[in-house]
Assembly symmetry: C2
Homo-oligomer: 180 residues x 2
């Protein structure tokens, strides 16, 4: 990969000064390393984050979990399907329509292994970055992402970007149990 040395710097032009561009390149690099590292467990970044959230909040609702992760509920379903099929988590019916999410023992075990790999991954990716620098980086990124905003406790959950919002049209679907 080319990059910023004087000679090559010209190729990028002002691009090297744009935060967005640096962000994209860094993100691609980090994700690639993540995938390579956790590949042996067949865990992609999204899987890892889902397991982490469920582990930290046993019994959490699907809707709440995917809202926290910023994943559309529609996309969350096949994700959970996959993890459930692998025996890593269970959907426990709460009342006929809501599911509480729980890790299985196997899920917890895999997550533990994943965390160890993840540590190695972070160390490799961050290279010789001081703890302070790392902390500052996370703080800055979280601020940019708006992750440090005040509690969305009673927040409208899906207040992302739909001014009108409502759609109340009834349809057909089903909170149907997947694993009867």
């Amino acid at each position: 990969m080319d990059a910023l040395h004087p000679e090559v710097a010209g190729e990028f032009g002002p691009l090297t000064k744009y935060v967005g561009y640096a962000l994209r390149r860094a993100q691609l690099k980090v994700f690639q390393d993540f995938i390579d590292t956790l590949g042996e467990l067949d865990l992609r970044p999204a899987h890892f984050s889902v397991l982490t959230v469920i582990d930290a909040n046993p019994g959490i609702l699907q809707s709440r979990a995917c809202a926290a992760l910023g994943i559309q509920k529609a996309n969350f379903v096949p994700l959970l399907d996959g993890l459930q099929r692998r025996g890593l988590l269970r959907r426990v019916a709460l009342n006929g329509r809501a599911n509480g999410l729980h890790l299985t023992d196997e899920g917890r075990k895999l997550l533990a292994r994943a965390r160890r790999l993840h540590d190695r991954h972070e160390r490799r990716v961050l290279g010789v970055m001081s703890a302070l620098e790392r902390k500052r980086l996370i703080a800055t990124l979280s601020r940019i992402a708006g992750l440090d905003e005040v509690s969305p406790r009673a927040a409208p959950a899906a207040a992302r970007r739909s001014p009108s919002g409502s759609a109340a049209a009834p349809r057909r679907g089903s909170a149907a149990k997947r694993s009867p």
Copy 2:
């Protein structure tokens, strides 16, 4: 500053301490704002970066440009097609197989407008971040992305990730002119 508020922090678990996760969320946020902001020009991030590189390197080869940007040449083609169709750039045949890329006047004009919008976008996304903080952020991200590595002048171009690499299969294709 561990980002999150106490209440919500629980939902994320250790996720708030992972650089990769913060990176992803920040990147999504920034790109969304970019798209919203430059939407009126119908420019996506990739388009903008391509125009920027060509503007800074008139006549640059396709292969060189896409290598610099970390884009696969195969994916680069339709990207250029689109921009060319819009009259923003021209492919100038150098010798029958290689194309030099140039912005048209219209391309330069659009890029200028885009830059103004981009400035607004960055200011909005970075909020009240000091110039120093911004600079440090870019430096850190560039280091993570490996963008600060030493010049790959004569580097093998496609040295990304194929240990075996070779495939010496014969081909058939065509640098065929698109705009004869």
